[in-house]
């Protein structure tokens, strides 16, 4: 037997056998992923217990025991049919238009709706990587849309759109406005700052580095304080911008410093050869940047840009602290309404706000991960 083994020739191919049941299919999966060792079994049991402990009460709160309709707090108080009422969605419904528009005049709210639509259109155009003429989309988003939105929301009496002072704006409208202004302003400013930081001109570089590092070293709330308290001091009385504009300036400056670092990361990832090739073609600096470097840099760093937007979107809640009625602030205001004062009103309000922010941010992060996966695939090819 031993000698025979030394030299060997396979006469017939070995049979292709199905894998043993214990290692494939549902059984194999469960064994490998949940019960592979005593420690693993213990972990599985603990986690299962945790899920049983958390999930059913949450489901009861959000759905089964929730109060879906009602005129006032009575509906959401414990009663015979519903001794432990869950979320008071009736409260959200009663206040929903306030959460969306703030005190924007009733008759003019179509303007806000139109703004939402125009914005959604622009976002879809830019976010869909296969959309036609995305360069026009960019012009639309960064130039046309801001002007259009300003005209729509703020109003121009001459063309029949009455003025709506920003003190009446509120809710999701303000949150979206702050986020959009932050995004629209921070991307170009961030690109300029990033280029400035890599510039060969010492004054430009010094200014860019100082600005970026200063803003990134302090909390947003102090930047907002600065914008809301100090800005009015720095300009003549009659030019003093209104409260919302001040907060917008603060947010835009803050976001552009973070965007600059993200863009810089993208620029760093472009190989030297690309610069050299562009220079060899005698392209002047701005042409080289606009035609060769930036398109590539922004493309590879798109996931990071979206992640910065997510951070910015969450950070818009801070304008609350300087007295702007954003979405979170309207929740805070509404939950204090005595008509709806119940033990669960606050929790309901926060849960609703959390769902709103979660859906927006999670959506963006899924998008950014998709782009990342696409880029990785394109890279491998």
């Amino acid at each position: 037997m031993v000698a025979a083994d030394r030299i060997y020739l396979r006469e017939a191919p070995a049979k292709l056998l199905p894998a043993p049941v214990a290692s494939t299919g549902v059984v194999g999966w469960v064994r490998a992923n949940l019960f592979s060792s005593p420690g693993n079994i213990a972990l599985t049991i603990i986690c299962a217990a945790l899920i049983v402990w958390i999930v059913p009460p949450l489901l009861r709160f959000f759905f089964f025991d929730a109060v879906w309709s009602g005129a006032d707090r009575e509906a959401c108080l414990p009663s015979a049919q519903n001794p432990e009422p869950g979320a008071c969605w009736a409260f959200i419904r009663a206040w929903s238009s306030y959460f969306t528009y703030g005190f924007y005049p009733l008759g003019e709210r179509w303007r806000v709706d139109l703004f939402f639509f125009l914005l959604a259109f622009g976002i879809a155009w830019l976010a869909w990587l296969g959309a036609p003429r995305r360069d026009i989309g960019a012009i639309y988003f960064f130039i046309v849309l801001p002007i259009l939105s300003y005209v729509l929301l703020s109003g121009v009496p001459i063309i029949g759109l009455p003025d709506v002072p920003t003190s009446l704006w509120g809710g999701i409208l303000v949150t979206i406005v702050v986020a959009t202004v932050g995004i629209v302003a921070s991307l170009p400013l961030g690109i300029l700052l990033a280029l400035g930081r890599r510039s060969e001109m010492p004054a430009v570089r010094l200014f860019s580095v100082t600005f970026i590092e200063f803003v990134r070293g302090v909390p947003l709330i102090t930047v907002l304080f600065m914008a809301s308290v100090m800005l009015p001091l720095f300009v003549p009385d009659r030019l003093a911008p209104d409260k919302l504009v001040r907060a917008l300036i603060g947010v835009a400056l803050f976001a552009s410093a973070y965007m600059a670092e993200v863009v810089r990361g993208g620029l760093l990832s472009i190989p030297r050869g690309q610069y050299e090739a562009a220079q060899a073609l005698a392209l002047p600096y701005w042409r080289m940047m606009a035609l060769v470097i930036l398109p590539q840099a922004l493309r590879v760093t798109l996931p990071n840009i979206v992640n910065t937007f997510i951070g910015l979107f969450k950070d818009t809640t801070l304008v609350f602290i300087v007295g702007i009625f954003d979405f979170l602030r309207t929740i805070e205001a509404a939950r204090g309404d005595p008509h709806w004062a119940t033990p669960i009103t606050s929790v309901t309000g926060y849960a609703f706000a959390a769902v709103f922010y979660f859906v927006c941010c999670y959506g963006m992060s899924r998008y950014s991960r998709n782009v990342e996966a696409r880029l990785a695939r394109a890279h491998r090819r």
Partner: protein, 256 residues
């Protein structure tokens, strides 16, 4: 070497490696199909075949970097079961060299070599360093001892990896495509080192496409395809009279 009563019913086998009826699946994919192989002590085996044929997987079963669903692997008389002690005992005496070198980038060349002697063999640091320097001299890079691996060329890194494995004074050495990740001009320096090693009488199992090396060093050559051992033969016969159609096809492709 004495042999504790292992799975072979107390009977000491003379084999360095004994694989019987080994079957392995990745999910539903049957990667190793009915592998039977015995390797004598001191024998030098070269394993070749098309990629995806299960060569590396089989090699990695020998120190149980891969586990399997059916069959049995006995290394140096030690039956490789799920018992972690048994696995550690086998790994201590089996050296391995990887395609991607897998040197530890946070340790110097010398520290790479002394890590296992110190923490596994409980050797005093000084002795471990002397040992490491001896093997670094053998692979002819003692002057790089204080450098970090990234400072070294691919060929040098792979020679360090060989020295690192030798520092554990293994009875068996496994080479998993040791030259495939190297630039062509560095292949030779690594192969030379391996040829020298072959002269020492250590048991070697080498997965490689370097047919010159196989001809020069191997006692037997194994041809694997589609998860099966197709043919085993001595080098002369293997190259001059390949028996199996599949082997002939493969040799034509890589020799011409």
């Amino acid at each position: 070497m004495t042999n504790p009563s292992s799975g072979t019913d107390g009977e000491k086998t003379g084999w360095a490696v004994e694989i019987s009826a080994l079957n392995k699946w990745y999910g539903d994919f049957h990667v190793l199909r009915d592998i039977n192989l015995t390797v004598a002590r001191g024998e030098r085996i070269v394993i070749c075949g098309p990629s995806g044929g299960g060569k590396s997987t089989m090699l990695r079963c020998i120190n149980r970097l891969e586990d399997w669903q059916r069959g049995r692997v006995v290394v140096d008389g030690k039956d490789l079961t799920d018992d972690p002690k048994q696995i550690l005992a086998v790994r201590r005496d089996v050296g391995m060299v990887f395609q991607q070198f897998n040197l530890f980038p946070h340790l110097t060349v010398l520290e790479n070599c002394t890590l296992a002697p110190i923490w596994v063999r409980h050797m005093p640091k000084k002795d471990a360093e002397e040992l490491a320097m001896r093997f670094l001299r053998r692979v002819r890079i003692p002057e790089q001892a204080q450098k970090y691996p990234v400072r070294l060329s691919g060929g040098q890194q792979q020679r360090v990896a060989i020295a690192r494995a030798l520092c554990m004074s293994p009875n068996i050495m496994l080479f998993d495509e040791p030259t495939s990740a190297l630039d062509p001009e560095m292949v030779k320096e690594v192969l030379d080192t391996m040829v020298e090693l072959a002269g020492d009488g250590i048991t070697m199992l080498v997965v490689t496409h370097e047919m010159g090396f196989a001809r020069q060093v191997a006692d037997r050559i194994i041809f694997m395809a589609e998860g099966q051992i197709v043919e085993i033969n001595e080098p002369k016969a293997f190259f001059e009279h390949p028996q199996h159609e599949r082997t002939r096809l493969f040799l034509q492709q890589i020799l011409h």
